[in-house]
């Protein structure tokens, strides 16, 4: 039963139906404490929608979701904060939790932006804002952390440091992590389970098995491999333009 105690979220054949079509369908996955699950897939493949289903922002229109997480934290893909709202980093850090300034500074130190504590949130650069977003989620000490493309706009060195931080957080907080990422190196080297999405689950497994099962094994080793090459995996089916499975080959 030790296995079950670590289970945070279990999706069984879930999907979201919107404007008379399925955005995603047939999503089954599990997230466990201390493990990193990664969603990869092309634009519009339903990565963010799946994450929102896990976070209970969207309801699943079929199947079953079991959520045992007691505290979830979320780093959304996009946030626009209107100018009419005067907001400093310190206010933003306290948005959904009651934490003191010491804890806030500690979290901001982890992502290297503790000097921005009293800065106006509207004056941060894209990368700085992203670091604040990640720090805010970590400061909540969640047992389930969902990160939707967390390092967008962050400089190259920062990217590596932040990915290492995410890995470290996973073990120090013993939290489950769902990550949406385009960074193949991190996905393949540091995550425990990879799910390849295109409106449905194309394939999933450990990074090792995914790589073995797919056609991009040699591309993965090459630095000049394009992101697109990731999606050239062995298919037992074809996709329509909307990502729907059209026929079995």
């Amino acid at each position: 039963m030790a296995e079950n105690n670590n289970l945070l979220v279990k999706l069984d054949n879930c999907g979201v139906y919107k404007s008379s079509k399925w955005i995603v369908r047939g999503i089954s996955l599990e997230i466990h404490k201390g493990k990193i699950v990664t969603l990869i897939g092309p634009n519009g493949s339903g990565k963010t929608t799946s994450a929102k289903m896990i976070l209970k922002i969207l309801k699943s229109d079929e199947g079953q979701i079991k959520n045992f997480a007691s505290k979830m934290a979320y780093v959304p893909q996009k946030i626009n904060i209107d100018w009419t709202m005067p907001l400093r980093v310190v206010d933003f850090m306290k948005l959904t939790s009651h934490i003191n300034n010491l804890e806030i500074v500690d979290a901001l130190k982890l992502t290297g932006v503790d000097n921005l504590l009293y800065n106006d949130i509207h004056n941060l650069s894209g990368g700085e804002f992203q670091r604040v977003l990640i720090a805010r989620a970590i400061a909540k000490k969640p047992d389930l952390l969902v990160l939707d493309e967390p390092v967008q706009g962050v400089d190259f060195n920062g990217e590596i440091a932040l990915y290492n931080l995410i890995k470290k957080i996973c073990s120090t907080l013993n939290c489950g992590i769902l990550l949406i990422s385009h960074d193949l190196h991190f996905v393949m080297s540091a995550t425990d389970h990879v799910i390849c999405l295109n409106g449905h689950i194309c394939c999933s497994g450990t990074p090792r098995s995914i790589v073995k099962n797919s056609a991009y094994i040699e591309l993965f080793g090459e630095h000049n491999a394009t992101t697109l090459s990731l999606y050239q995996h062995d298919h037992d089916h074809s996709h329509g333009t909307d990502g729907r499975v059209t026929n079995n080959v």
């Binding site: 979830m72 979320y74 959304p76 946030i79 009419t84 005067p86 907001l87 400093r88 206010d91 959904t96």
Partner: protein, 273 residues
């Protein structure tokens, strides 16, 4: 007790006390209205308040209660309409604002037996408030502020980002609903004093003043409340001094404060160049 009695005997003092009470409630709610871009929503609710007043006269209800019910119904109707049609939010707001206003005015036509002060309805008459009105403002206001205090974190986080708030267990759908009722509440409390056409001004202008000179949400709420109180006091004294109508005088003072609040922004802009 005797002194207090004498104080409440003076119509001007009563107006001051009632006006300050309303400004204190309007401060934090006005900030939320600005942050959430709900100014036209506030307008719609206050236009529908006219219908509430007419119904109150027709069936001899309490005005505050009747206006609150009608505003709340219009707010819920709007939420429902938004789910049913694809018309933009501002079109639906306009539809509701003007149709409730029209229904209210049509109904007034039937009330020939009652002498009706239309100007008083549109612009309010703060100098006519009695002790009962003041009691309602302060009791209702205390209830509104107390509820707002308890849902503040949820409401505020949902204002910054709805998904984040929902994901992190803040139940924004609940606080959004309650907020709508609170907005209906503040309009109901102030219709008699400020009038249907000017309520949104008292919500919006102090908050707009505060935005120009504050750097954190808490600061903005405090400054908005102070700006509202100052507008009420100065506006009432001006109206007494030069014999102008009181509601509009309050709004004009608020506007002057807004213009003054632009100066620090201007200086900051010059310094950064």
């Amino acid at each position: 007790m005797g002194e207090l009695q004498i104080m409440f005997d003076d119509f001007f003092t009563r107006a001051l006390i009632a006006g300050i009470g309303i400004a204190i409630i309007a401060g934090p709610l006005g900030c939320l209205v600005i942050w959430r871009r709900l100014s036209y929503f506030g307008d719609t609710l206050s236009h529908s308040a006219l219908l509430g007043v007419t119904l109150a006269y027709s069936f001899s209800f309490n005005i505050t209660f009747s206006v609150f019910i009608i505003s709340a119904v219009v707010a819920l109707l709007l939420i429902n309409l938004q789910k049913r049609t694809k018309l933009a939010g501002d079109s639906l707001l306009g539809l509701l604002a003007h149709s409730t206003l029209a229904i209210g005015l049509v109904l007034i036509g039937f009330l020939t037996s009652i002498r009706f002060d239309l100007m008083g309805l549109l612009f309010g008459d703060i100098l006519a408030v009695n002790v009962e009105d003041i009691t309602i403002v302060y009791l209702g206001g205390a209830a509104i502020l107390l509820i707002l205090y308890f849902i503040w974190k949820s409401l505020f986080s949902a204002t910054v980002n709805y998904d984040l708030s929902a994901a992190e267990g803040m139940r924004p759908e609940v606080s959004n609903f309650i907020f709508t009722l609170l907005l209906a509440g503040v309009i109901a409390l102030s219709i008699k004093m400020i009038g249907a056409l000017l309520i949104t001004g008292l919500l919006l202008i102090p908050a707009a003043i505060a935005r120009n000179i504050s750097s954190s949400p808490r600061q903005m709420v405090i400054i908005a409340t102070l700006a509202g109180v100052i507008s009420v006091i100065a506006g009432l004294f001006v109206s007494l001094e030069i014999n102008t109508s009181s509601g509009p005088s309050i709004i004009v003072v608020a506007l002057l404060l807004f213009i003054i609040s632009l100066i620090p922004l201007e200086i900051k802009g010059q310094l950064q160049k």
